[in-house]
Symmetry: C2
Subunit: 165 residues, 2 copies
DNA sequence: GTTATTGCAAATGATTTGCACAAGG
DNA sequence: CCTTGTGCAAATCATTTGCAATAAC
């Protein structure tokens, strides 16, 4: 876990008069150990492997805390479960492209997008605080070559495309 | 209800070998009678006033159909319920700004945004099919004048800000 | 007459909550 | 100690579904 994240979490816990517990420690550790997005349940599974003692309820409660601390953000992938993104600490204004063919999520940052959002928002009489862009797109490689490594990987891993709610 | 919408719905029903029923007729009628966004339950309430006979289940099922026909789109307002937007038929590529102060949703269309999305997506190796942008923003009028007609309207109507899930 | 559609009530599934016990500070 | 945090199981709440009755075509 990045030390900046640990720092911010510690600060948040102190400021709010909360307590440092083993569960919170481990949940955060697992959540930020990779840059992959996850659902509450996926995180719970991962935490279980490290520590058979932590309950699902605590995972949900800690997720809420991490979101409040702005270490985690909820993103909409058009799913029935909430998806959490642990990468906003490093890439504060990134957005997402979701591949329609294989479900892969690509993160991208672009200054022009941010500027354009800012201008557009001003023109409407507001001050932009946060934006989220989701682009749903088809894979060009798949269209041209008839195959795409991401799709193959998806099929091999047996991970099925997320069901739309 | 716009005749273009009625036409598209009729076509969809025919193509799929579905049946024209009173319930579907009335649900669509109510859904497209205003340009306001709504949840399944809000639509159900409105339908009830017109017709005490239609069940919640049928409203849900018909909503699914209207989404498949691309007459309605599900949008993410960061809520625990799905919000439906009936305005994509008239403004096929609009996006949303949500006021943090009063919850008002402003729709906007912008060609530059569309072009930029297209470019960005190509550069990542994909072909953009659909995008959704949500801008969360503070109201400038409220900041400068200390008040904003939308906020006043929100308070008067007693409509509370949507709860975050 | 078939087959799709509806209403009802029960099921689902993710998330939240009340409460008694445990453990930080 | 005193208060916050945890685990458990039960509660919630939007949405979905099975099924028998009903209505399109």
């Amino acid at each position: 876990m990045d030390s900046g994240i640990k720092q911010r979490l510690d600060d948040f816990i102190s400021q709010r008069g909360l307590r440092r517990t083993g569960q919170r420690e481990r949940i955060a550790e697992v959540a930020f150990s990779r840059d992959e997005h996850f659902t509450a349940d996926e995180l719970f599974e991962r935490v279980c492997k490290v520590d058979g003692e932590t309950s699902r309820a605590t995972v949900y409660r800690t997720l809420g805390l991490l979101v409040e601390a702005d270490l985690l953000r909820q993103i909409d992938l058009g799913d029935s479960q909430i998806t959490y993104d642990p990468n906003f600490h490093n890439k504060p204004s990134h957005n997402h492209l979701v591949c329609i063919d294989c479900g892969k999520v690509v993160e991208f940052e672009d200054d022009n997008v941010d500027i354009q959002t800012d201008c557009l928002t001003r023109r409407l009489g507001y001050k932009a605080i946060r934006q989220s862009i989701k682009i749903e797109a088809n894979c060009e490689q798949l269209r041209i070559n008839g195959r795409c490594p991401d799709l193959i990987a998806t099929r091999l891993s047996g991970k099925r495309l997320r069901k739309k709610r």
